[in-house]
Amino acid sequence: MMTAGVDVGAKMAKVVILKDGHVLSRAKGLVGFDILKSAGDVFQKALKDAGISRGDLQRVAATGMGREAVLQKPPINADEVISEVVADAAGACQVVPTAKTVIDVGAEEGRGIKVEGGKVRDFVINERCAAGAGTFVETMARALEVRVEDMGPMSLRSTNTIPMNAQCCVFAESEVVTLIHAKTSKDDIAKAIHDAIAGRISSMVLRVGVEKDVVLIGGVALNPGFGPPLEKELNTKIIVPEYPEFVGALGAAVIAANPQR
């Protein structure tokens, strides 16, 4: 059976094509103002890479905050929509079958999910705040005038701990500016930023409890500076699967393949 999962996130659209449990192709791209078009372009690329057409897919499931935009609308014509939490759980357990806790940190949302065999037992989502999400790192990278992809490696070079007290992305930016004026090294500031986001995410995840194995997914999982402070905060080892940003889309494709789940 061939299915597709489409994850229309706040910043990126991700598509996974699945055939009998094996990934045929993955594609991702920025979500623009026209959600349907930008997600549709990514979808077409995934189809092309897999060497198939929409008609070859038995089912397509959409997830992510823009999922409703692609429901039964060409070119994606998603057959169903699934919440991010449910898709994340299914996807994470597909790549790490022993997963009990899934942490998904995307551009604008962070989630902590307790799972069992791919099913959600409990979950928590950050409420109306970018301070625990990827946007936070991007904003701080702008303040430091460095590329966002450099933030992780920079933070790993630092051995100093500088607490960031601001609980808000906007005020944290002011705090970063203050640190710059205080001649604090950019590496130390980058570490402070990653420590801060890890602190916020961990305090949220602890609300549902942390059980091994803990899996980190979402775009922020690609940032090498985020995992170490999160492991320290949660006092546990964290598994980052290959292609962590595609796990939600994978979960949607898995669910699409099992509509009677």
């Binding site: 409990d122 979950f123 989502i125 109306r128």
Partner: protein, 445 residues
């Protein structure tokens, strides 16, 4: 993917219009009381409203919390109230009902149940309040102060009820502490109104209140049926009578009529939500400007059966020896003297379930677990209500107690009276995620 499911028969409540009219006339009676030579008083829905009833049958109140909720429901007016309050220098972290109420006063406008806005806030002749939470007494001190700025002197009497909730028969010292204040209160009412106090009217009002609040609990108990004959959104329009006029005969009469109708719905299998397949309870006041979230739930076949708030703010309950939470029957005999009546209403009120959490959160958790069990609820939705410090206190502890008992819990943040603090799209999305995690799918339109 969508599913089609068994559909229960559904029909509107026959007494719906009666409920609407009662609520409409409540506000109009207050507004027009002086034209008929009557008196107006202001105070909280939890105040001992039977006591001012001894001043005459033409004494009308407006209770602050339902009034604040009415404003919240009419969001345009609520926004103006918030602006007025913040311009006057009050912070937006205070009780949202209180801010809405003050806002209307500052704007010098009065809103009726149907949203009609009348110029000129009808000043009460006196304030009769109790201090159940951090805001309740202070609320009306500010009202008094704002009225004074307008050249109006409004006398205020506030009863301290800090002796706390009693799960069983309240201890004598608690009862005497409050009865003593109410005895003084009767004398104070005579003094500020210039009227002679009628003990018989007090006895009638106490009797009405006990019957009405017991009847409301009986109505809520009928919602244990599957399918549920009432959904919580509808119940809000019905329980409100108990928050407005629990001591008045029309309230007890209405609840008697309603009970008979709900009983009949149960007998005939009439559902509030035709596709009921998942039952939840909630907690604390809802975000009044966004009651559509209940309709969103229905898209998943979810019925909200009620809450400790909607059952126990007005309804009176007790535990049986075998641990069942059941409606507390009204006493068989009407009190006959002032002293008997005051003692009876204080003892009755100290058992009010919704008071428990102020003092002992574990009792609130216990009652919530009883509701989940007896009403056959599948999950609990907890409103972390930034607008009400009183009812939100300990709510995270209640969550832990429910989770420990294996009950699925969905917390969401919001505000009962300030729409700026409720994210409809976000909450709806998270609710969808929660229901999906419970194995539900959206029903076919």
């Amino acid at each position: 993917m969508v599913e089609t499911l068994k559909k229960y028969p559904a029909e509107p409540l026959k007494c719906w219009n009666e409920a609407k009219n009662l609520r409409k006339s409540y506000y109009e009676n207050y507004l027009n009381a002086h034209e008929k030579g009557g008196l107006r008083w202001a105070g909280g829905a939890w105040s001992f409203s039977a006591v001012p009833a001894g001043l005459g049958e033409d004494v009308y109140s407006v209770t602050g919390e339902p009034y604040g909720a009415t404003i919240a429901f009419h969001k345009d007016f609520a926004a103006k109230c918030h602006d007025a309050v913040e311009e006057a220098g009050f912070p937006r972290t205070l009780c949202a009902y209180m801010r809405n109420y003050w806002g209307a006063l500052l704007l010098d406008k009065f809103i009726l149940a149907d949203g009609t806005i009348v110029d000129g806030y009808p000043t009460p002749d006196f304030i009769w309040q109790d201090h159940i939470c951090c805001s309740h007494g202070k609320w009306y001190e500010v009202v008094k102060w704002l009225e004074k700025k307008n050249g109006k002197e409004v006398p205020m009497y506030c009863t301290d009820v800090s002796v706390g909730y009693s799960l069983e028969d309240p201890e004598d010292y608690k009862v005497e502490y409050i009865v003593g204040q109410l005895r003084d209160g009767v004398e104070w009412l005579e003094k500020v109104s210039g009227r002679k106090y009628n003990d018989q009217l007090l006895c009638d009002a106490v009797w009405n209140e006990m019957k009405a609040t017991s009847l409301w609990a009986e109505i809520c108990a009928l919602n244990q049926a599957v399918p549920a004959p009432l959904d919580e959104k509808t119940m809000y329009s019905l329980y409100v009578m108990g928050t407005l006029m629990k001591h008045r005969p029309e309230c007890a009469e209405f609840y008697q009529t309603l009970k008979e109708e709900v009983k009949e719905r149960v007998d005939r299998g009439i559902a509030a939500v035709p596709y009921e397949r998942f039952r939840v309870i909630t907690d604390t006041q809802p975000p009044w400007g966004f009651l559509k979230i209940f309709r969103e739930m229905e898209k998943y076949g979810v019925v909200s059966l009620g809450s400790l708030y909607s059952f126990g703010l007005i309804g009176m309950w007790e535990y049986t020896p075998d641990g069942k939470w059941v409606p507390k029957p009204a006493p068989k005999q009407k009190p006959e003297t002032r002293e008997d009546a005051l003692r009876a209403i204080v003892e009755w009120t100290l058992n009010r379930p919704e008071w428990a959490h102020f003092f002992r959160p574990e009792l609130k958790t216990k009652m919530m677990k009883s509701i989940v069990d007896q009403w056959k609820a599948d999950a609990v939705l907890l409103h972390y209500n930034r607008g009400c410090e009183g009812l939100s206190v300990h709510i995270a502890e209640n969550r832990l107690g429910l989770v420990d008992a294996g009950i699925p819990v969905f917390p969401f943040e919001g505000n009962m009276g300030d729409e700026r603090e409720f994210d409809l799209a976000g909450t709806t999305a998270r609710l969808s995620a929660f229901f999906e995690s419970m194995g539900l799918k959206k029903l076919k339109e």
